[in-house]
Subunit: 707 residues, 2 copies
């Protein structure tokens, strides 16, 4: 045993504590599965009330077993789990799988019991899966271990998977067998008291039989660790997950725009995307992409050729590809010429290539070779609808030959043939995944293409930024005051914090009365904006608290009066602490940069279009902190309304280099200042190329408790 | 035979012209299918070279058959089709199905041949399906006709379907049998030379065995007629379609914003939505929704209760429902109390209701009854994951009992049980559709809910609008000048056309020089906008052709100079015909109303947010002309950035009544003026409630050819 978890997945002997004579009970089914699916070593039933279980000599306790035991499966009532674990520890058992429920999942008392369980497991240096799980499984013919009570023993293959739900685990194994998907190892991880999904990721990283890793997750135990592990493992083995369940709706502070914008699932999507993990919506799509990645190379790009013997399915496949961001390129002239020589005149030589119903198996083989060789093509989807005489098997054999050794992925779709022809089955060499309808093939391919893009993307760097000063920012924030929900900084403090991180703000002067406002406006060169200052009113424009394009002293005094009058009308005059007289910029693109906290994932950074766009269109892209410059470029590129950044209607384009720089400075700020809870910079004005950015308005909330 | 198409679907006798002795040929397979699937009358093989075909006495021509023949299936080479049809006509055959290919689908010569074929069919008063099709099928036990060469004979049931692709038809029948979906009638309609999908819609409307109609379409023959028929039929029988294939990319005029915005598929979506037709993305989803609608009532609303015996699948179902716009309501207090009495303390009584793994069949039955009776609930999804002892069948029986007679739809999902338990099979009475995973159930349910919403929606009315004058508009447009691509109207003409339809425009004065601009500004009360006039420059702001908020004569003269200088800089001074000095509105929400032509569907009307929003966010909702006031309200409600219409940040809300009125006036304009090709009103300024709208800027292109 080379790896700490080998005691669980590659044991030489197993005891089933709670093995039962009564078929239909958990203890009977697990024992039965281990024996009937041919575990390679001895399986010892432990049952104090029976001399034998299912014709095998039984023992009263683990300690009575005369031979060494590597792994114990515990299927006893909850109150007997701890004594049984103690026995296992004394016996020298290395791994335990606790099927029994009634621990952390049931509340406070259960959680205490689980802690006690783990204390004993640690004391004996054991590893544990569960409690409250379905069991584990390893199809390696050298092990052949079915330590689950699921009725399904899947075929052996390259896919390993973990499930946080036992119930879904049963359904997943069942479906895998129906689809003929080869499984290497499976674990139902239950309460994850010891071994987690993260541990299994690392274990399967070093398992030569595992080519693809699948996970069904309901929660992240340690998302930061998951991120670190997944992005490393993902470089060599693709990881695909179904993540269900949302973070509690009320859990995230939503007092900032950023907080309100960051949808409940946005952090999960951001984290998985940054880590290169493929997220699918359903279990079926999970298998669809697994069968592709386990059997075919990753596509180098998004250009697909479609080969068909019927027009309708070809159109459907084209629609499905294009709606998933895949492209059907024009074929190279020499490919088209070769196809013309091969196919009847009625065939359509443009992509999708419709060979019409007369296409024979040899035609399929030759055409497939041509498409694979085409330099314009990154992948091929082959469709087949049986004409009268069904030669699906011959066509499948032809595809197997034509696609053998292809450096580009080949996917197939055999419609109306009652399933996958044996020649293409994922269980055999020369595997070509086959889907019931073209859409499933297109969806799986688009996910593989996105994974390939992640693999090819440089990781990016984090610039040094020598000109930032956390000390200056801390001095501006001042000492904690013990306000339990944190506190919003005053505008002067905000400006100082931004300045400490090299983020430019407009010059501005605080004025407490009309005269001061007039003097301030006269002291600034540009036209000014006069803005309400208030500790309590967050949306200044909602109360008429902003007057723009004010020119000269008298106009500024007038603006002060206007704002004061508007507040008085609303009975809010007591909330006004003065105005900020600020230089104005008449050009530039309004963008938005924000920070919010996710209760599970920590700080999120958002970028989008600013001003009212933020609230109306919610066009903000999030990443989990920390980010690299590549991440920042990605965020800017993914904004839907990006047209506005490109120089819309004759305006100069936005200074994208400066936007990346601003995002890196915000990320650095988060790294230096853990007290920073929330921030909205709106707008962050992006001036023309080489002119930089200006944080025209910003709000910052800091953690302010004494703990 | 009561209906003209009964000769095709309810014949008393059939001749197979081209019936063959050689199994594997089309002519042999169709004859074999008719006989082996037990057609209720005699089937006559017609084959001049054989005395008998498959042990049945054969005839040299149809004319030699001594008995009457209602229907002839033609499977002869293309060149023998016309003589055979002529024979059929002389014999008194009422219906023909032409399997043979080589007609309209092959080009000009084939199209001529098809015309000749139809001339003979019409001359003899016959009806025809095809040519170039797979055949037709009627599972009614009194008929039992399989006149296809597909290898599948589906079970009898309430779903009728037509397919424009023969190849896909084979796959569809195959899949229907795999899923156990009962089919009433099926037709592969091939080239639709006579009988179309529209004809079949009307035929199946009156077929008592048909409860749901499915269609696979690649093109609309006559979309307006489809619209009329579908919205009538859809009131009593749901229609679901897969429509693949896009309108040709270049076919739609895209010189207006509206044209560029109306995506290639937007007209199809609009038409189907307006007609109440359910559109699914895939064949699988088509069956998923068909099995629901054929067996369960339509939900009265979007509130779903989920009943499960396992947490994980419950979470997945919840996610799937919410992401499809369905809602999981809180249960009524009395429901929760009754569930508390029924279920163990570990169960979760909040929706989704997790009864935990110990739930028995009687518990399922009782809990299902409670959820159906809950007034907060419109539909129920029941999930089952087998615990150790699989009692899926008992649970299925319990669901059948608990859900019997429910006025609310009940959907089920049995995971990990190798398919649908027989008790729930769609072929038996007390049918409850069962899905492999919760997502498919949620997607099907959401489509059924949308259909129910369409059924419940009033159709709306078209106001009389006595104050419009097509004569005044026509006078403004002037006589056709024979410009082949149509022509853009001059601003004065545009204002006159809008005025003729009661659409308010800002007062504006054309000025050809600086002095005229100054005089014009002095003659208007409000601040003015000075706008470039040019027959060739369409995006005025792109060339700096608009100066806003101009106050007084000198400023207007200055604005004229500024615009002229900007054009001179760009070498465009020759394109300037003057400026429009126009009163400005400083408040109101900028909206967008547009018209474009779809080559297949005719005029489309679009509504969205105006100004730059149109181009940056493409937030425009389209409908096929003509629309009712309900359609107009829907369009306004569906705009994504609708927040801006609700009184954003203290601004007054938009006058929605006036927006509906404006859309009705545009629709009337289209009805009156077929020469109107394209129109962009951007912005259509929506003032505050009761204040109406102002078409600040608009462009109109009219058809201008002499034909």
């Amino acid at each position: 045993m080379n790896h700490a978890l080998d005691c669980l997945f590659r044991p030489r002997s197993i005891a089933v504590v709670g093995a039962s004579r009564t078929r239909g009970t958990l203890g009977a089914e697990i024992f039965h599965n281990l024996v009937s699916n041919g575990f390679s070593g001895p399986v010892y039933p432990v049952n104090p009330g029976a001399a034998s279980v299912q014709s095998v000599r039984a023992f009263g306790t683990v300690l009575e077993i005369p031979d060494p035991v590597d792994l114990a499966i515990l299927v006893v009532p909850q109150k007997r789990v701890l004594p049984a674990v103690e026995d296992c520890g004394r016996k020298g058992v290395r791994g335990v799988v606790v099927i029994s429920a009634g621990f952390g999942e049931t509340g406070l008392a259960g959680r205490a019991l689980q802690d006690e369980l783990m204390a004993r497991v640690h004391a004996h240096g054991m590893r544990l899966i569960g409690p409250n799980c379905l069991g584990i499984l390893n199809t390696d013919p050298a092990i052949s271990m079915d330590a689950t009570f699921a009725p399904t023993w899947p075929p052996h293959g390259g896919v390993s998977l973990s499930s946080q739900s036992g119930a879904l685990g049963v359904a997943i194994l069942d479906r895998a067998r129906d689809l003929g998907i080869g499984i290497s190892q499976f674990a139902s991880i239950g309460n994850k008291a010891d071994v987690s999904g993260n541990d299994l990721l690392e274990y399967w990283e070093s398992d030569p039989a595992t080519r693809v890793i699948l996970m069904y997750m309901e929660s992240f135990g340690n998302p930061r660790r998951f991120w670190q592990i997944a992005r490393r493992v993902g470089r060599t083995k693709p990881i695909a997950v179904v993540k269900s369940g949302r973070t509690a709706a009320g859990a995230r502070a939503a007092s900032s725009h950023t907080g309100a914008l960051a949808g409940l699932d946005v952090a999960v999507d951001a984290l998985l995307g940054q880590a290169g993990v493929i997220r699918t919506d359903t279990i079926e799509q999970l298998f669809d992409v697994a069968i592709l990645l386990a059997n075919q190379p990753v596509a180098a790009g998004h250009r697909v050729a479609i080969l068909t013997n019927a027009g309708g399915p070809g159109i459907m496949a084209t629609d499905a590809c294009e709606s998933r961001g895949l492209q059907l390129p024009a074929l190279a002239p020499h490919t088209e010429a070769a196809l013309r020589a091969l196919l009847p005149p009625e065939a359509s030589l443009r992509n999708p290539v419709d060979m019409i119903a007369s296409a024979s198996a040899p035609t399929y083989e030759a055409a497939l070779r041509l498409l694979i060789a085409d330099p314009n093509v990154d992948s091929v989807i082959v469709l087949f609808v049986p004409p009268v005489v069904t030669e699906a098997t011959a066509v499948a054999e032809a595809i197997r030959r034509g696609g053998a050794g292809s450096p580009k992925p080949v996917l197939t779709c055999f419609m109306g043939t009652h399933g996958v022809p044996p020649a293409l089955s994922s269980l055999r060499e020369g595997r070509f995944p086959s889907y019931a309808f073209p859409e499933a093939a297109a969806i799986a391919l688009s996910r593989s293409v996105a994974y390939g893009r992640w693999l090819a993307r440089p990781e990016g760097t984090v610039p040094a930024l020598d000109d930032v000063s956390s000390a200056r920012a801390r001095a501006a924030i001042g000492p904690a005051r013990g306000e339990p929900t944190g506190r919003w900084l005053e505008p002067e403090q905000v400006r100082e914090v931004l300045a400490a991180y090299g983020l430019r703000t407009p010059r501005g002067i605080v004025a407490r009365d009309e005269d001061a406002a007039a003097r301030a406006a006269e002291g600034l060169e540009r036209p000014v904006a006069v803005k309400l200052m208030s500790a309590t009113i967050t949306h200044k424009t909602d109360v008429g608290g902003v007057v723009l394009d004010v020119r000269g002293g008298p106009a500024a005094a007038n603006a002060f009066r206007t704002i004061r009058d508007r507040l008085t009308e609303r009975g809010l005059e007591g909330e006004m602490s003065g105005v900020l007289v600020q230089e104005m910029f008449s050009s530039g693109v309004e963008t938005f940069v924000g920070v919010t906290q996710d209760p599970v994932f920590g700080p999120l950074i958002g970028f989008g279009l600013g001003g009212v766009n933020v609230e109306v269109w919610k066009d903000v892209v999030f990443r989990v902190h920390p980010i690299t410059d590549e991440d920042a470029r990605d965020m800017i590129a993914q904004v839907r309304g990006g047209k506005l950044l490109d120089g819309f209607r004759g305006a100069p384009p936005a200074d994208r280099v400066a936007l990346v720089d601003a995002l890196m400075r915000v990320s650095r700020m988060l790294a230096d200042l853990p007290e920073l809870l929330e921030m909205d910079i709106n707008p962050l004005l992006a001036l023309g190329p080489g002119e930089g950015t200006v944080a025209v308005d910003a709000r910052i909330r800091v953690r302010d408790s004494l703990t």
